[in-house]
Symmetry: C2
């Protein structure tokens, strides 16, 4: 129907959320990210690829290493979506609350 929720799909996995949590502490290489996750290196590499495609991380080249960093762009997408929804909620529901309260008060009689 409209745009694809690539960034949300990227978050829809506990391993990837954990990777982001690890990266929240600062830049880390792939192997450093593999260590705490009882999971194979290829599996982690695929997760990192998904996070990168979603704009949630970036990778630079340092010799044979590929240090990963958080990228704020993906985060911004999420925040933008959430604040749109919150605005819509405030506009269309806080008002509705009063309406519904009136209705149910009327129904009690």
């Amino acid at each position: 129907m409209q745009k694809s929720p690539e960034v949300f799909a990227a978050l829809a996995d506990p391993t990837r959320l954990g990777l982001l949590g690890a990266l929240a502490q600062g830049e880390k290489t792939v192997n450093e990210l593999v260590a705490p996750f009882d999971m194979s290196q290829p599996a982690i590499s695929r997760h990192l690829k998904i996070l990168e495609a979603a704009g949630l991380i970036t990778r630079r080249v340092d010799g044979t290493k590929r240090p990963c960093r958080l990228a704020p762009e993906g985060l911004a997408q999420i925040e933008t979506w959430a604040s749109m929804m919150r605005r819509a909620y405030a506009a269309n529901y806080d008002r509705l609350d009063a309406v519904l309260a009136d209705i149910s008060k009327g129904e009690k009689e």
Copy 2:
């Protein structure tokens, strides 16, 4: 490894995002939600169940209808996560940016 990203998984589907968008305009019954989504009613009902389990919508009973509303709780979870990440970013990366800039300046020689 740790907690399950149920709320993000709920957003990781274009139909469900669309449903939330529709609900952003106000309360709607299941059939009203089905209409714009070239998809069967049972499929939409299952999506709604997932959104409800994630705390993103609530449903009330109105005779045989089940009007759905946005629930701000799920939204709050997302906002909380995002702001945690942003704080971590600010704390551990803005500082790191300067460090990396220094390093790459050194490497140029």
